[in-house]
Subunit: 425 residues, 3 copies
Amino acid sequence: MTLKQTGLSGESLAALRSLIARRQPGYSLEAPFYTSPEIFDADMELIFSRTWIYVAVEPEVPEPGDYVTVNLGRNSIVILRDDDMGLRAFHNVCRHRGAKLVQGESGAVGNLVCPYHQWTYDLEGKLIYAEHMGEDFDKSCFGLKKVHVRSIAGLIFICLAAEAPADIDELDRVMTPYLAPHDIANTKIAASADLIEKGNWKLTLENNRECYHCSGNHPELTIPLFAYGFGFAPGQMDETELAQAARYDELVATSHARWESCGIPSAEVDHLDDCITGFRTQRLPIDQSGESQTLDTKVASRKLLGKLTDTALGGLSFWTQPNSWHHFMSDHIVTFTTIPIDAETTLVRTKWLVHKDAREGIDYDVENLTSVWNATNQQDATLVEYAQAGARTPAYEPGPYSPFTETLVEKFCKWYLDRLKAGLA
Amino acid sequence: MTLKQTGLSGESLAALRSLIARRQPGYSLEAPFYTSPEIFDADMELIFSRTWIYVAVEPEVPEPGDYVTVNLGRNSIVILRDDDMGLRAFHNVCRHRGAKLVQGESGAVGNLVCPYHQWTYDLEGKLIYAEHMGEDFDKSCFGLKKVHVRSIAGLIFICLAAEAPADIDELDRVMTPYLAPHDIANTKIAASADLIEKGNWKLTLENNRECYHCSGNHPELTIPLFAYGFGFAPGQMDETELAQAARYDELVATSHARWESCGIPSAEVDHLDDCITGFRTQRLPIDQSGESQTLDTKVASRKLLGKLTDTALGGLSFWTQPNSWHHFMSDHIVTFTTIPIDAETTLVRTKWLVHKDAREGIDYDVENLTSVWNATNQQDATLVEYAQAGARTPAYEPGPYSPFTETLVEKFCKWYLDRLKAGLA
Amino acid sequence: MTLKQTGLSGESLAALRSLIARRQPGYSLEAPFYTSPEIFDADMELIFSRTWIYVAVEPEVPEPGDYVTVNLGRNSIVILRDDDMGLRAFHNVCRHRGAKLVQGESGAVGNLVCPYHQWTYDLEGKLIYAEHMGEDFDKSCFGLKKVHVRSIAGLIFICLAAEAPADIDELDRVMTPYLAPHDIANTKIAASADLIEKGNWKLTLENNRECYHCSGNHPELTIPLFAYGFGFAPGQMDETELAQAARYDELVATSHARWESCGIPSAEVDHLDDCITGFRTQRLPIDQSGESQTLDTKVASRKLLGKLTDTALGGLSFWTQPNSWHHFMSDHIVTFTTIPIDAETTLVRTKWLVHKDAREGIDYDVENLTSVWNATNQQDATLVEYAQAGARTPAYEPGPYSPFTETLVEKFCKWYLDRLKAGLA
C-alpha cells in the first residue's frame, strides 16, 4: 500500500492487468472485480473520474444560487445554477484549509461562503473575499476547481476528468430528439428514494441490464412489462410461446410505426459497447392498457408531460454507461443513478418526475406513481446482495451469461473492461 | 496487497515464516498471531480450509432435503441429507451468476433453486434446470462444488481441501466406541447459543485448553469439576492439598475401572499434537453427586441417552484441533464449535443435546440444562476479550505457560504451528 | 503491508519521506497527513510514543492505589499513586498471558491482580504472586513494564520512549512559576467531557492553534476573548480598527505590568517549534469584567484557586506539543488533551478544575462553569469534521496559512514535521 490517496501499487496493477487479459467473454467477471477495494479505487479513478456521469436533473436547480451536491468516490461536487442561468460544477472544497464548503444535499446561496474562515466565492467559483491574508495575497490564484457539466435535454451529467470525452456530443445529437417530447425542463420531482444495496456497483448494473430475473422476482414490474421484451431462447420454447413471441414482435413494429408517424422517435439505438460515452435507447410497448409503468398500467399523472396528448406512448428506456437508466412515459419519468460507495456497497438513487403543474393528490398520487419501482428496487437490492455474498466466497467462479437474455450484461462488462484497459494504457 | 482474495504476499509470507521459526516453546504466541488480518487469512486457508472442521450434529438434518449452512472464513457451505439418507456438503454458490443459493441457517428443500434466475440443482448437486441458456449449453459442467463431509458417531465434520486428511479414519476408529454409548443419532437439540467473543479464535482455544483460570473465574463450572482434574504444581502445595490430590487420583482410577467393566471406555487418549486430525479424550469423575455438569451435579434430563442406565458416568470430554470440544454425560451432551469471524472476533456455538424422546418441562428444564455452560461461556468471553486487548498493545510479549496447568495450551500451539509450517512448505 | 504491529513498510517510508521533503512552508499539509492510516501509525510511533504527552492531573490519583488508565495508540497505560505517594506508570498488560490488567478508566487497588489467572503485582510493578508456575520460575523477571511519568505543577505527562526527552526539565523550570499560583494540587475535577471529533488529530490541533475562525464560529468564546488577541492583518484594517488594536496592545502591556508586580508571571514564552518538548504560554486580559472564560466574564467559582485573591488575573494559556492546551484563571482551570483514535477520529478530553473546597451549587455551578468551552468544543468538532471531509477529497490541495493569524498553526506543522524527520533519521 502506498501513501497515495488514489491509484494502485505496482504489484496490484500487474494483477489487475492479468485479470483483464484473461477474462473469458460471455462469462461473469472474476471475484476481485466485485470485492477488491483496490479495483474499486481503480473503478473510481479510471471509470467514474473519466467518463460522463449522470447525477441530477435540471429542475433540481431552477434558480440562480440553487445547488445540489453529489459524492463520487471521495469527491464532493457542488452543481449550481449561476447568475446567467448557466450550470456550473465545482469541487466542494475551500482553497484555504480545505474545509468542505457546503454540507447538505441541496440548498440555495448568494455566494459560496466557507464556514471555517469565511473565504467567499461567487457563483462562477472566483474567490472574492479572504480576511487576514495580507496585501500580497493573490485571490485570483485560489478560485474553486471546476468540473465539467453538461445537460442532455435536462439530464445533468458531470465529468471529473481534465478533458471530458467529446463523444457526449453524439449522445446529445441522438438522444435529444427522443427525450425532448418529455420536456424535463417543465417537470418537478414528485418523489425520490435512496436505496443502499449491499453489493458492488457492477452487480447493480448487471442486474439492471437483463430481465432474465424478472419473471421469478418482480411480480409488480412484470405487469406493465412484456415477457418477450428482453430476449429468450427460441430453441427451448414450445409452439404457443413462439406464437406469443411473434405477436409481440409485430406489436413492437406497429407501435413504432404509429409513434414515429406522430413525431415520437422510437427506433432502437445501441452504443453500449462501441464508444466512451456508451448508451442505448428503445421505446417499447407497455402491456395491458399500455400507458405507464404502474400497477394498473394506466398513467399515474393526469397532467401529461410537455405537449403530449397521447397517453399510450409505451416506455422510452435510456441507459448510459457506467451508471444510469431512465424510463420516459407520457405522464412521468423515472430516472436512476448508481453511486458506488465502496467495493461492496452501492447507492441507487431513484427520482420520479411529473409535469411541474401536476398537483399531488389531484393529478397524481405518490404511492401509485412509485409503487412499481420501489418494489422492484427492493427486490433487486436483495438479488444484488445474494450475488455479492456469492462473489465473496472462494468457491465463486465466473459463470456463463445467457446468449439470449444477458447480452446487455455482456456489453456492460465489455465496455467496463475496455475503459479500464484504456485507463491503464 | 494483491488482488487475490486469499493468500499472503511475498513480504508477509517471509514475515510469517520468521515468526513461526523464532517461536519460543512454552510461551504464548507473538502478538501478530492474535491480531494480524493476514495471519487470520493464513489461518483460514492453511488451517480451516485443510483440516477436518466440526460444524454440526446429525440430528440437525434428519430427513432428505433438510439442510444447515455454515460460514467458514469467506466460504458458505450447505450441508444436507440427500434422498438416500446420505450426508452431502456443497459450496452454497450458484454456478450461473454466483448468487448465494440458500440464505438462512437451516431449512428443508426439494431441490436447491437459485433465487436469482431459478437455476435448479438436485440434492446430489447436479444442475437439472437452467432456462434461456440455449441448446449448446451443457448442464453437466455446472454442478455444485462438493465439500468433504464425514460423520463421527453423529458429529458432522467437513473439510474444504481437495484431498482431506486421511487420519480422520484413526479418529473414527478410536472415538466411535467412546461416543457410541451416548447415541447422538437419537438425540435432539434442546438448546443452542451463539456467542461472539471479541478475540482471536486461538485465544478462545487457549482458554478452552486449560482450567488454571477456572478457580478465579468460573463459580458455576467448579461445582461439578474437581479442582485437581486439570493439573497443579506439586512443589507449591501443602500437605493437605497433596493428600487431596492423591485422593483425586485414586477416584479417577477406581472410576475408570468401574466404567470400563460396564463397557464404557474411559481411558485417556491424547493425539492433540502428533497427527493432522488432532484430538484428545478422557472420561473424568464429576464432583458431589457425580452425575452431570449442572449446578446441583445431578442429571439435567431424566431420560438418559441411548441405552444408558447408570446416571453417574462422569463426563467424557472430547477435544479436536483446531476448533471443537464436547462433554458427554449420561443424560446430555454439550458440544462446542468455534468459528473464526475475523482476526479479532470469534463465534462460539454451543448446543445441548438430550434424548430425542425427552420432554421439555417434564424430563428436563432448559434453564437447568444450560446454566453452567451459559455462565461459563460468558465468563470465558470476558477473559478472551481481556487477552485480546492486551495482545493488541505494543507492550505485549509472549509470557510463560505453566508447565503444570497449561500443557494442553502448549500442545494446541504446537499443533497450530506445525499445520502452518506444513501449509507453507 | 507487513505483519509487524507498528511501523511503515519500505515503500511507504519512501513515500512519507518524500511528502515531508516537499512540504511547502506556510501551507497546510498534504492530504495523506490527515487521512493515511499508515501516517497515523507513524504519528503514534514517532510522535506520541517518543515525546511527553499530557494525560491527567494529580488530583485524579490523590491516594496510594488510586489509578487512571489512558489509551495512547494501541497502548494501554495505568498511572497510579504508589505507597510512597509517588506517581508510577505501567503498561497495563499482564506478563503471563497478556491480559489487560485493569479495565476501567479509573479506580483504586491494593495490588494489581490480573483477572485471568490472578498473577499479582504490587504498586511498584513487581510480580509478587503467580500460582502453578513451579519452583524454577523467577518472578523477578516478570514485573510490569514501566512508562516514564512526570508531574509539572500537577499536570501529569507520560512518555513511552525508552529514553524520554530531557528538555522536559526546561519546560518544568519555565512553567512551574506560571502554574504554581493556580495550585493544581488543591483542586478537584468539577466536570469533564469526552468529545469524539471526526477528524485527524492534527486538524484538531491546527484548529486549536488559531482564532481566525473564532469570530465566525464561537459566539460564546468571543465574549471573554478579545478579537485582537490572536493576530490580524494591519494592512487590511481601517482607522477605527487600527485604533482598537493599539488600545488592546496597551491593555496587554499595563495588565502584564500589574500582574508581574503581584508575583503573577505573565510574559509570553514561545518554544513551540524550537525544542522537542515544545510549549508556549502567555497571560492575556479577558474582555468586559475581565475575570474568567464564562458567558458573563465573571469568575465561575467564588472560591479562588490557591492563595489568589485578585479575581481579574486574565487567562494564562499554556500549550504543549503535540496535544494539549490549558487555560488558568483565578477561579478555575480548563485543561484539554487530545488522544488520536485513528487517522480520522480524535478524542478531545476536557476537564474543569476548581478549588477542592469549592462547593457545587454554592460556590460554583457546573453549567455556568462549562458552558463556554462545551459550546466551543462542539463548534470546533464541526469545523474539524468539515476540514477532514475536504482533506478526504482528491481535489484538496494544501492552502496558504494567514501570515498574521495562523502563525502558531505553522509552528505546529513545523514542529510535527521536525519530529517525524528526527524519528525517521
